[in-house]
Amino acid sequence: MSTDRRALILMSPAILWLLALMVVPCVLILVLAFFQRGIYGGIEYTWTLENLALVFDPLYFKIFLKSAGIAGLSAGIACVLGYAAAYAIAAMPRRNQPLLLFFAVLPFWSNYLVRTYAWIVLLNREGLIVNLARWIGYQGELPSMLYTEQAVVIGLVYNYLPFVILSCYAPLSRLNPEITEVSRDLGASAWTTFRRVTLPMTVPGIATGFVFVFVLSIGNFVTPALLGGGQFQMIGNLVYAQFLTANDWPFGAALSMVLIAVMLGLLMAQATVAERAAGMKKDQGNG
């Protein structure tokens, strides 16, 4: 038996599993989006573009924009914090860096629901932050912090920050210190060196972090449900409702399809950035 046949036999169970339980169901969603909703919530097998048109109806499109806004804001804040943290870790003595990185990523390994719940404990009306404010003598009525848009953004940043620290640390730690030294020797200030040398060379890490936080946030329904308290909907909640409560699967499928398109577009853009950066490095190596 040839090596190739043997390899295919080893691979086939897993590949079949993925085809049956990932590829087929995802294609199904794409097809479902073009069917009509039945009168009693079922699916009627007539082709239509109505579901897709409904996604761009101002009522729903607004939710899309809102989700994108929240995801963008969360990804932006996570990138600023994550980059700063990664930069600081990379500036520490080499032997301490693995340990610092380990502890930066450790919370990421714990349960997502638990990490989100931790913020309910901090932000609720009887929570720690309110108590702390009272303790330092604040008498007035405190604005409700839980069940707000800000709470959702905090939750998303908190949950995905370790990911950004990792993605930014990788290019920062590989940065050749001689390059920044040259820049300083040639008379550039520390800030100019950072802005003109370090930052451009580490953009791929930031792009990866941003895209992943954005993609994970825009489709999220757990954090808006728990920290937003149903005050507003994000796309994930809307999809959730179509499938589990409103029973309008074709519309839910159409929403997901647009969501997947946005995500794929961003992931491809990020891959392009990474590829171009890799190409740039190669050019420098040759030159």
């Binding site: 038996m1 090596t3 043997r6 390899a7 036999i9 080893l10 691979m11 169970p13 897993a14 590949i15 599993w17 993925l18 339980l21 990932m22 169901p25 995802c26 199904l28 969603i29 914090l81 700063a84 943290a85 930069y87 600081a88 500036a91 520490m92 610092l100 502890f103 930066a104 450790l106 919370p107 390994w109 714990s110 349960n111 997502y112 629901l113 638990v114 990490r115 719940y117 309910i120 404990v121 901090l122 009887e126 720690l128 908190y158 520390a190 993609v215 489709g219 999220n220 329904f221 757990v222 449900a225 994930g236 999809v239 959730y240 499938f243 589990l244 699967w249 499928a253 995500m263 992931l267």
Partner: protein, 262 residues
């Protein structure tokens, strides 16, 4: 002087970021030991709320379901993922579409896979329950096991496989007696990762569990409890769940490192 200030600034940044990362979960763990159970006042150290968990049948039932789901999906995905990794690495020239299919389960958003699987199972008319959660968890778990094992295979010395074949061993014998022992740390690391991911996974389980209480997993139970508000029991339960995942993943990481450097 400037150097010193920069270093201090870096330490300050690290302090702020680590405080942000650790204060919320530390408060949670701390409160789980608070006798009175309220976040407003510390009334003494107690394991009371952990004891309360043991008397809560809903939680125990959900924990049992979670263990069943995690163990079954781990076993299945460890076999499938390891075979896949070995196959992919001996074949080498794999098309782009194949790499995409193998990589996709790791980046596909949970909600997308969840609704896709829900639609799929309903259209098939399949009865949903723990078994549908298990086969769904295998989808992403096998991809992670495969990734871990493949990483180990990158530094694998293929000449020992040839030597084994030259000495007359069959494919199965070679796989079992030569490759498996070398790959064991990576396979165990992958299995531990799969187990943790499965224990923690909420969204896909939520959508593929079907109706009724009989197939509720621990994350689904926690989600339901959180929606009703903050209680001391959740603090205790959350602390346990967090500790278990962190231990499993730290162990997995360790094994994996040992494998790569060995």
């Amino acid at each position: 002087m400037a150097e010193r200030n920069t270093f201090r600034l870096m330490l300050l940044i690290l302090g702020v970021v680590f405080a942000f990362l650790y204060i919320p979960i530390s408060v949670l763990v701390g409160l789980s030991f608070n006798e009175g159970g309220l976040p407003t006042a510390w009334t003494g150290f107690s394991f009371k709320w952990y004891g309360a968990l043991l008397e809560n049948d809903d939680i125990l039932g959900a924990a049992a379901n979670t263990v069943v789901v995690a163990i079954c999906s781990t076993i299945l995905s460890t076999f499938l993922g390891t075979f896949l990794a070995v196959g992919v690495e001996i074949r080498r020239r794999n098309g782009k579409w194949l790499e995409t299919v193998i990589f996709a389960p790791m980046i596909i958003p949970d909600i997308v896979l969840a609704i896709a699987l829900l639609s799929f199972f309903s259209l098939l008319g399949a009865k949903m329950g723990l078994h549908t959660i298990i086969v769904s968890h295998v989808v992403f778990n096998l991809a992670f096991v495969c990734a871990v094992v493949r990483a180990r295979l990158k530094s694998f010395d293929w000449s020992i496989v040839e030597a084994s074949a030259d000495l007359g061993a069959s494919t199965i014998t070679t796989l079992y007696r030569v490759m498996v022992p070398v790959l064991t740390p990576a396979i165990v690391a992958g299995a531990l990762l799969a187990f943790t991911l499965s224990v923690d996974e909420f969204i896909i389980a939520f959508f593929t569990a079907g109706a009724g209480r009989s197939s509720i997993t621990l994350p689904m139970q926690i989600y339901a409890m959180i929606r009703f508000g903050v209680t001391p029991e959740i603090n205790a339960l959350a602390s346990i769940v967090m500790t278990v995942s962190v231990i499993c993943l730290a162990l997995s990481q360790r094994l994996n490192k040992g494998g790569l450097s060995g």
